[in-house]
């Protein structure tokens, strides 16, 4: 591969360490030292017709960080990306890219970013190379500089063999790769990926995950990724903000969000009133957090090595509650999402 720019190579292996190093800021928001690449404060957006998409969200993204906005469709993730990429006008609050206010200095802010939209945004009548050339020129590169960057990025992203084909002939995964290559051409400080794997088959999806990790490692670019896939957020992101109905309801490293619920959870499906079961299991010594109820399921965060299902069953039975099923499993972001929003994400929608 052609040599490419390295700022500060990092690997997925040290993600947990870095997250743990970040000191706690206000209201539990971790704030790292140094200027954030993306800074969002009390951002609000009310669309015509009164739909309140954002109700005052705040977060920072630091240099080289892969930051996730996780939530179902309609949570406000794409609106946030839209404001940061200057295609949506905020109703209030502040948003800065590399210190440039996206409203007051939108041209300078746009120069510092690359974006891959949820839907494919390509010039379909032209080749992949023509799409990259257009981007290079719009971002102010000279012809020679543009050609050099196209060669570098195409090599790094694995597009060399297809670059001169019309983009209409590209598969979904190839289109995504081309869009990521295009966004990286101008060496942005921050790369926005809006639901990058939606609509891709599982193989392409996993391939894209690898590409995102490799891109981040190779270019040390800050990445803001929106997703409604919990496994995607858990696998890729250094920190995740869970967005629910226009608000950030949790923000931390995935490992720490999960750890806040305990390493394992016990799920108890009851026939009768689940709230009664909560009272019974909350008193047990094996729980580390407060049990919570969704429908007729009680979820109990367990201590390390907990998972004493028989003990729970006994307690519930003593309370006279009929149990349909019981299971103990590793805690996931899904449980965290459930805990903080009271809902699950199913097919991108809150259920």
């Amino acid at each position: 591969m052609t040599a490419v720019r390295f700022k500060s190579p990092r690997t997925a292996a040290n993600r947990g360490e870095r997250a743990a190093e970040q000191p706690e800021g206000r209201e539990g928001t971790p704030v790292a030292a140094g200027e954030p690449v993306v800074s969002v404060r009390e951002l609000r957006k009310t669309y015509a017709g009164g739909v309140e998409a954002l109700k005052g969200i705040s977060f920072d993204v630091h240099e080289g960080e892969l930051f996730g906005l996780l939530g179902p469709n309609g949570a406000g993730k794409s609106t946030t990306i839209g404001i940061l990429t200057t295609t949506v006008r905020p109703s209030g609050g502040e948003a800065c890219l590399g210190g440039e206010d996206v409203r007051a200095n939108s041209l300078r802010a746009r120069r510092r970013m690359g974006v891959v939209y949820q839907e494919s945004v390509l010039d379909n009548e032209f080749s992949g190379r023509a799409n990259l050339r257009l981007h290079a020129r719009l971002w102010g590169m000279t012809r020679a500089e543009g050609e050099r960057r196209i060669a570098e990025v195409a090599d790094a992203i694995g597009l060399e063999g297809i670059l001169d084909r019309g983009v209409r002939t590209y598969s979904g995964g190839q289109r995504r790769r081309l869009e990521i290559a295009r966004a990286l051409l101008s060496e942005p400080d921050v790369l926005f990926l809006d639901e990058p794997t939606v609509g891709l088959d599982p193989a392409s999806r996993h391939g894209l995950w690898d590409l995102i990790q490799e891109t981040r490692r190779r270019y040390a670019v800050s990445i803001v990724l929106t997703t409604h896939y919990l496994d995607e957020a858990e696998r890729l992101c250094d920190r995740v903000a869970i967005v629910h109905e226009g608000r950030i309801v949790a923000l931390d490293a995935p490992e720490r969000l999960i750890a806040s619920l305990g390493e394992e959870v016990l799920e108890l499906r009851v026939r009768a009133d689940a709230e009664e079961a909560v009272g019974a299991v909350a008193a047990l010594p094996l729980a580390v957090g407060e049990p919570f109820v969704i429908g007729n399921t009680v979820t109990v965060p367990l201590k390390r090595g907990g998972g004493n299902g028989a003990q729970v069953m006994e307690a519930v039975r003593d309370a006279g509650i009929a149990v349909e099923g019981i299971s103990v499993r590793r805690t996931t972001l899904d449980d965290v999402f459930l805990r903080v929003t009271g809902r699950r994400i199913e097919n991108g929608k809150a259920a």
């Binding site: 669309y47 839209g82 990429t85 200057t86 295609t87 949506v88 006008r89 041209l107 300078r108 746009r110 120069r111 970013m113 974006v115 939209y117 945004v121 390509l122 010039d123 379909n124 009548e125 032209f126 257009l134 981007h135 020129r137 719009l138 971002w139 102010g140 295009r182």
Partner: protein
Amino acid sequence: MIQATTMGMSTLYQRRLALAFKTRRGVIVPLTAPLIFALVVAPALAEALGGFSPDIDYMTYVAVAAAVLLVPLTSMFNGLSVITDAKFGITKELLAAPIPRTTIPLANALSILTLALLQAAVLFLAAAARGAEFDTSGTGVLWLLGGVALLSLVTYGLAEMLALAIGKADEYIAMIPAVAIVPWFFAGSLFSIEVLPAPLQQVAMVLPWTHALAVIRYGLVEGSDAGLADIWGLDSEPLMAGLSLLVLAVFAVVTLTGAVKVFGRKSLS
């Protein structure tokens, strides 16, 4: 800012021109009907009807009018790309680019103007080869270029506004005959506007099509000022041609400003 504007305009101008030639619908389709008018209908009408003006033979009269059919058709067909770019193409990428957003519709308009001038040249050359009698000079060519260019800007501004406002290709296509063809019949294309009923004469006199056609005829066929006189009734031919270009320029400013405003409103939420 100036560098970003220049870079944006030049890049988007080239991209849009390349797109027009690549898709061909914006080049070939609009040219077809005007060419048929200039090469087939005009000579046939001249033979069947004779003529009505001492300044210009009827075949040339209609062949010139074919250009005023061509330019709005080119604008309207190329306006379709605004919808496809927004729905399935590159508009969002352009909005994220570090260029002033007004350059997007304005670069579109300039590239379509270039296309219209090239198409008009093809049309006039073909008509001359078929027997149309053009009698022009350096100044006449300038009047001609001014008329074609300003009509192109007027109609492309209108096309972009409509495309952005309608947003659906099928509905937009349905609008093309009404916008690009119907006004042409009232603009002095096949007959003088003098023979129209009085209310329609008033309508014709404010149509940009009428002013463009009168200026283009005046530029291409020396001494042919009947169209301008029908509108202005003045003695000075250059003054009348200048006034008609001014009217076209005002229309161009209005429609292009409208296109920029609608683009800003529709592309940002």
